[in-house]
Amino acid sequence: MFVRLLVVCCASAALVTPIVAAPPSIESVAPGVGQRGAEFQLTITGARLADPQELMLYVPGVVCTKLTAKGESEVTATMKAAADCKLGEYAFRLRTKGGASDLRTFRITPLPVILEVEPNDTRDKPQVVALNVSIAGVVEAADVDTYAVTLKKGQRLSAEIEGVRLGFEVNDTALAIHGPDGQELAAADDNPLFHQDPFASIVAPVDGRYNVQVRDTNFGGGDNHRYVLHLGTFARPAAIYPAGGQAATEVSVKLIGDAAGERTAKWKLPATGGFEFRPTEDGIETPTANPFRVSPFANVDETEPNDEPKQSNAAVAWPIAFNGIIGKPGDADHFRFTAKKGDAIDVQAFAFRIGSPTDTVVAVLDAQGELVASNDDDETHDSRVLVSIPADGDYFIRVTDKRKQGGAAFIYRIELAKPTIGLTVFLAERNRKTQDRHVIAVPRGNRVTAFLAIRRDDITGPVTITAAKMPTGVKSAFGTVAENEFLLPVVFEAAADAPLGGQLVELIGKSGQVTGGFTQEVILVRGPGDSTLHAVTLSKLAVVVIEESPLTVTVVTPAAPLAVDGRLDVTVKIVRGKDFDQAVEVSFPCLPPGVEVPTTVVIAADKTEAVVTLVASPAAELGDWRLIAEATMARPSRVARDPMAAPPAGMGTSGGRRPRKSADGLTPVASEVQSVKLAESPVKGTFAPSACEQGKTVKVICNLAGAVGGNFTAKLDGLPPRATAKPVDVKADGKQIEFLVTVDATTPPGEHKSLVCELTGAAGGQKIVYHLGRDGSLKIDAPGAVKTDVNGKPLSPLDILRLEEKKK
């Protein structure tokens, strides 16, 4: 037995549930920020934190040197940030023996970190701080936090908040800077660059003490509304122009929107990979970076006036990147490029994505100024259009703002490139709006399943998925995603002796010469609907080995193929660990197309197996398919569906409403992958046309082609109302099934094309069902209306007329 004895405890709410391997949950990470090159501590609070094993970090630069648990609900992580680590966001999961937590983040700042000290609610009682610090604070309900700094006349003060970017709540903050005379010098709320996280900069008009206030934009707030306020003399440009450049070149850029005025800077861009623009002035680095594109091709910057196509810059060949600014309301910018007939060009605007207020509308015009293609928004809110060039020649790109607005910071970048070719592997979400099962947590000696999915960019064909390195003792067959599929159900299996541990696994998809890696967007802060306010993109899949589960599930190999338009019973068996006595719910995350299990499968507390009927529709696809069963503790509502069943222990009389998440953290375990064959049924049936008068009986014959191959019982279904037929036994070599149908005097007359013959038998001890002769016809007539030939075969209306003619 793999299942280990688990502690059973009586929950206070009169719920008796087994404590099984369950992942930790994190409710807050304080202060959520550390300084580069420094050692700092993160206080992680939540549940099931008693046995912290590891902080799984997705990128290098910061390491966790120590994890100290303080009871069930708090862990202190000691972190060490390298002197040259990247600034900004670090994603992590906390792993315990029960699994790995949801993804959380902390941030690294170049400035020393200090903590907010309440009370600091009013401008006359501020928290006095030094310049160039990162303050970690909390906006409690209706809270206002005030910080005071002393400035010399002419000195710049920049203030910048990371609130939503801390990845916990819609911590939508507002910021205000007041001068020594109490006058408001700057106020900031949302902005195109950092969206909900405000920033502002001022140049001190006089020597004195300046107040910086942070509050919730709606005077809301809460204990977990943490923020980091970077406060100092650093540069804080609202925009960078151009906001992109060619890889491995030096770019010269303008920094726009800082209180100290426009600056220029030069940077050397890397040859590969991304780049973060972070100006350094007076030795102080701007704490958070402006977005910046690194592209393989050269820049062409606009030269005004270019409001008309004829004023546009000289033609250039593509691929190319055009940069410009919608300088004033109603501005239109034009760029000229040459292309050849048949060129397919992916014209892509970057504005929203580079923190610009511009709402681009991009049009491609031909040399005569006629519109070839245009676009307002794609899913990124920026314009993107795939253009097929109709003829050799010059073409224009026209950029405008949808709202006809403009200004100094209305930067944009248009890239003309070949359409992207590639593929990406990602983890399909099991439960929307949660991070449920984002981590593959495999109990020792057990299996779990996950759906890997493929995104194909301009490629076709099957994709084979493999993993670079799996945790010790864990294996998965992965497999190939068929050409017309995008989902692949995968079973991960951990050996019974696999060590508890985890690995961030690199997955690789391969289709011909094209390979692609794994990517997963984890939404940390959600907006209304399905929208995202803050997300982290991961390139590795977390796979962890956890303690044994008290449940294993197996599917008995089906003894026969499942027939199209048929049914097949399969047996699912479970093994419960000691002290686990709950009802178990079985689901089938992976079934052949067109096949379903129409009922909920619950194995009662006193049973260990269930017979499950697979139902194949007439449209089910033939072939060999996978079948996986998943089992977990049954939800009380499911168990309660059987009115005769006793309520589960501890449910009491209150009805017991529990969260939908798998019962108390018991990770659903999977069966091994079973192969199931979908085949045509071995025998075909055709109904001979038959007719009957009301109140009489008629023989309805179904002719068989092929061999039934066993003793079956045939049932005639789809009879008209109040017509009945008794089941008939069918021999293995039967060629015909004859039903005697009794038609009632009130059975409605007309042609009833709904007959079907259901053959029920068994194979390998399991029930098997075929449906034959669908849409067979039975005509019901008023008494005296049926004419038959000498053989008793009903005549068609034409034959009846002929017969009557003959008689004359």
Binding site: D189, Q196, R215, F219, F352, D359, K404, Q405, G527, G529
Partner: protein
């Protein structure tokens, strides 16, 4: 001769003349007469004016003489005799007036037309009203257009539906149309027309002629005139006959009095008979509405109390009083006395800043001997931020600032902040509107565009803009021409067309949407589905270039100082704030049939609003410093009956937000409202949907419609119960510990009681009250509890809840 018959009936109703004093002048209406065709008739009305400003209908006593006998005169009705031109001399008392008369086509009996003859009968007898066949689904299987807005459709339904039955040309005297209307067969509406009456004959002659369809060139009415425009009855019992003349598209006119529907708006003052004779019933004013075809005009009637009256020569503090007194003199009403300083301080504080005066403010004001201290006080209050908060709240109600249609809490907050910053920054409502209406951008980026997220349908936007900024409700005209006003469906869709090109798209923040000018799209007229060009309401059709933002043109026109409707509306809204009712009331219900109680005052306030560039502060100052505003609520014998001419101040219950703020103020507590920092005031609540039991119970505007009627200040049982038993008063008394603090300061219990009176009611307790409180306190073991009970009782008095 059937016309003459009616005329006699009309005429015998007129009262006889009893001229108490000699007439100053007479007015003969109409001032000129044109008779065209043998069927034409024209009634005359002679009105005499007296030195005291009253008028009298002297038509019956006047003598009429024609210089040439080209027409006949009977009972002040002129009928054509032969073609030509002449002069009618009308004489009464020592006055005579000449009226030019022309007669043409005297011998031509024009055919009876459906629209101009038959339909007018249906309208007059009420066939096409909303509760009869004019209902959207008709009545008993027969439908007519409401008040006849669709003559072609009515013609079809009468003549083509149920062929041979409703109209039977073979037996015109015996078809359903005639039988029903004359009550010959059972008719739900009963007998509407007497058999043999002129109306009956008109219908039957038309049927006898074959129920012809009107030829294309049939003239249509283009306007109507009502004579006389006004009447001032010296006492009840006097009568005045009204004559209505319609002008037609071919330049002719016609006396349509007998086809006109008359409705009065104040039967307690004057009633109007079906034939247009108005009779004074009691002291007061009434507006007699005359509706013919799609036109509505009216006559203002004043009925004086009939008691001796001399102009009291009431002092005038400013132009407001001059205009109010002029009207009061006309009514023979004297204004009340000016209120005391104590009352004025409390009243003006509540009205201007939504707060009660503090004890120090009170003491200072009462001790001040400066004769101009009221001016100084008003000036000081006008400069306070709370004054602007009140107006932010009022404008926020008109803009319906609330979370709806996906407006997020943040969008709402920014929208409110935008308005607040504008008003606090000194922006006037015209500037707000000029920025709001053409607004483009994201709802966070440019919060003004939230206006177009609150309401997205062009029709509703047009209705709201018209109601809020022009005080005119055009909703009726969406489906049919307005029955009590001048608005037609063309006006409605022309106005809605300004909002037909608004574009919406997702913005950068998922909680935000972007509003832009799409530059395409049009407004379709439901009758005929034709495209309707933008047309200003009651104004011109502007020249608009393709792609131009229509809304900008609208904003420009709307807020122009040349637009008297906008200015008058602003003036009226401000006025209503200080008197509890508008000069036109409700303030957003300006229509022909709901005239201003003092048009001159309204016009002047409008002119002032324009002159002040819509600065509310200046208007408020004029009003608060007027004697009229400062009048006592105590009435005198002459103004007892008056409710609409501002002869006295009215008792006004504080609006919900102000009341809650005042309770909070006197109990020295704080509130925590969503979207406001701790201690925010109810008048500052940004979201109209903020749930608050107190505010809802006391009739706070939910801002779900643009209607001014959303703010309710009528008392209800639940309000009383809430104050008595609810959490607000008791909870706040306990929370604020006002009594405990005062007692702790060693204040004598009786002094505490006095202080509570001063705080809550702005006055000291009377000797009687003091004696009763004293004896209660003497007997009380727990002085603090007894005083808290007193506090609670004071908060429950009408004297506290009402602004006096």
């Amino acid at each position: 001769m059937r016309f003459a018959l009616i005329a006699i009936g009309l005429f015998t109703m007129a009262t006889s003349v009893t001229a108490a004093e000699s007439t100053v002048s007479i007015t003969v209406s109409p001032a000129s007469i044109e008779l065209t065709g043998a069927r034409d008739r024209q009634g005359l009305v002679v009105q005499a004016a007296f030195a005291d400003g009253s008028t009298q209908d002297v038509t019956a006593e006047a003598t009429f003489a024609l210089e040439k006998p080209i027409a006949t005169i009977a009972n002040a009705f002129l009928a054509p005799a032969s073609d030509g031109a002449t002069t009618l001399i009308v004489t009464f008392d020592k006055h005579s007036t000449k009226v030019p008369v022309t007669v043409s086509k005297a011998k031509d009996a024009e055919a009876i037309r459906f629209r101009t003859d038959v339909m007018t009968v249906f309208t007059k007898v009420g066939c096409n009203t909303g509760k009869c066949h004019g209902s959207a689904s008709g009545k008993d299987g027969f439908r007519l257009s409401l008040f006849g807005y669709d003559p072609d459709g009515d013609y079809t339904r009468i003549t083509r539906e149920m062929g041979g039955r409703r109209v039977n040309l073979a037996t015109p005297d015996d078809c359903l149309l005639v039988n029903k209307v004359t009550g010959k067969v059972p008719h739900t509406g009963g007998q509407r027309i007497l058999p043999g009456s002129e109306n009956d004959l008109l219908i039957r002659r038309w049927l006898e002629a074959g129920a012809p369809k009107d030829p294309k060139e049939t003239p249509k009415p283009v306007s109507i005139e009502v004579f006389p425009k006004q009447a001032v009855f010296a006492a009840k019992g006097a009568a005045q006959r009204i004559v209505v003349r319609a002008k037609y598209s071919d330049g002719t006119d016609r006396d349509v009095t007998r086809f006109t529907v008359f409705v009065g708006n104040n039967d307690a003052a004057a009633s109007v008979a079906d034939d247009g004779v108005v009779t004074g019933v009691g002291p007061g004013e009434a507006f007699i509405l005359a509706r013919f075809d799609q036109f509505t005009e009216g006559t203002a009637v004043i009925v004086r109390p009939g008691t001796p009256f001399a102009d009291p020569k009431t002092p005038e503090f400013n132009y407001v009083d001059k205009l109010v007194h002029a009207k009061l003199n006309k009514l023979h009403v004297k204004p009340s006395e000016v209120c005391t300083d104590e009352v004025f301080l409390r009243r003006v504080s509540i009205d201007l800043i939504g707060k009660l005066p503090s004890l120090t403010e009170r003491e200072k004001f009462l001790a001040d001997t400066d004769p101009k201290k009221r001016e100084v006080l008003v000036e000081a209050l006008l400069k306070r931020e709370e004054f602007r908060d009140i107006w932010v709240m009022k404008w926020a109600e008109t803009l319906q600032i609330r979370t709806i249609n996906g407006i997020s809490a943040k969008g709402l907050q920014l929208y409110d902040k935008w308005l607040r910053d504008k008003i606090r920054g000194g922006a006037t409502i015209d500037k707000v509107v000029r920025e709001l209406l053409p607004a483009v951008g994201g709802t966070f980026e440019n919060p003004a565009v939230n206006y177009f997220q609150t309401e997205t349908a062009p029709q509703l936007l047009a209705e709201n803009v018209s109601q809020v900024f022009l005080g005119t409700r055009i909703q009726c005209a969406q489906c049919h021409n307005h029955p009590f006003d001048r608005w037609t469906m063309d006006d409605y869709y022309g106005f809605a067309s300004f909002f037909s090109q608004i574009g919406y798209k997702n913005a950068q923040d998922p909680r935000e949407i972007t509003v832009f000018n799409s530059g395409t799209g049009d407004m379709r007229h439901p009758v005929g589905n034709r495209s309707v060009k933008p047309k200003f309401l009651g104004g011109a059709t502007p020249e608009l270039k393709p792609g131009q933002d229509y809304r900008a043109a609208l904003a420009e026109w709307l807020t122009s100082t040349e637009n008297p409707d906008f200015a008058r509306n602003v003036g009226n809204i401000v006025w209503a704030h200080f008197f509890g009712r508008g000069i036109v009331d409700s303030v957003d219900d300006v229509r022909v049939s709901n005239p201003a109680s003092n048009q001159e005052l309204l016009d002047t306030l409008g002119a002032k609003a324009s002159e002040y560039k819509f600065d509310i502060e200046k208007l408020a100052r004029d009003i608060c410093l007027s004697r009229t505003y400062q009048l006592s609520t105590k009435r005198n014998a002459t103004n007892e009956w008056d409710e609409r001419n501002f002869a006295h101040q009215s008792l006004r219950r504080m609006r919900a937000e102000v009341l809650l703020d005042c309770i909070t103020q006197v109990t020295e507590t704080t509130n925590r409202f969503p979207g406001l920092p701790l201690g925010g005031r109810a008048v500052q609540i940004p979201d109209g949907r903020t749930p608050n039991y107190f505010l809802t119970t006391f009739g706070r505007a939910a801002r779900t419609t643009a209607c001014s009627c959303e703010v309710k200040t009528t008392p209800t049982l639940s309000q009383a119960l809430h104050l008595l038993n609810g959490e607000t008063t008791t909870g706040k008394i306990v929370e604020g510990k006002v009594v405990a603090k005062l007692l702790a300061d060693k204040t004598e219990p009786i002094a505490v009681a006095e202080r509570l009176y001063l705080c809550c009611l702005g006055r000291k307790p009377t000797a009687n009250e003091l004696a009763k409180i004293g004896s209660k306190l003497d007997r009380a073991d727990d002085k603090s509890a007894a005083l808290e009970d007193l506090f609670w009782a004071l908060l429950n008095t009408n004297e506290f809840i009402f602004n006096r």
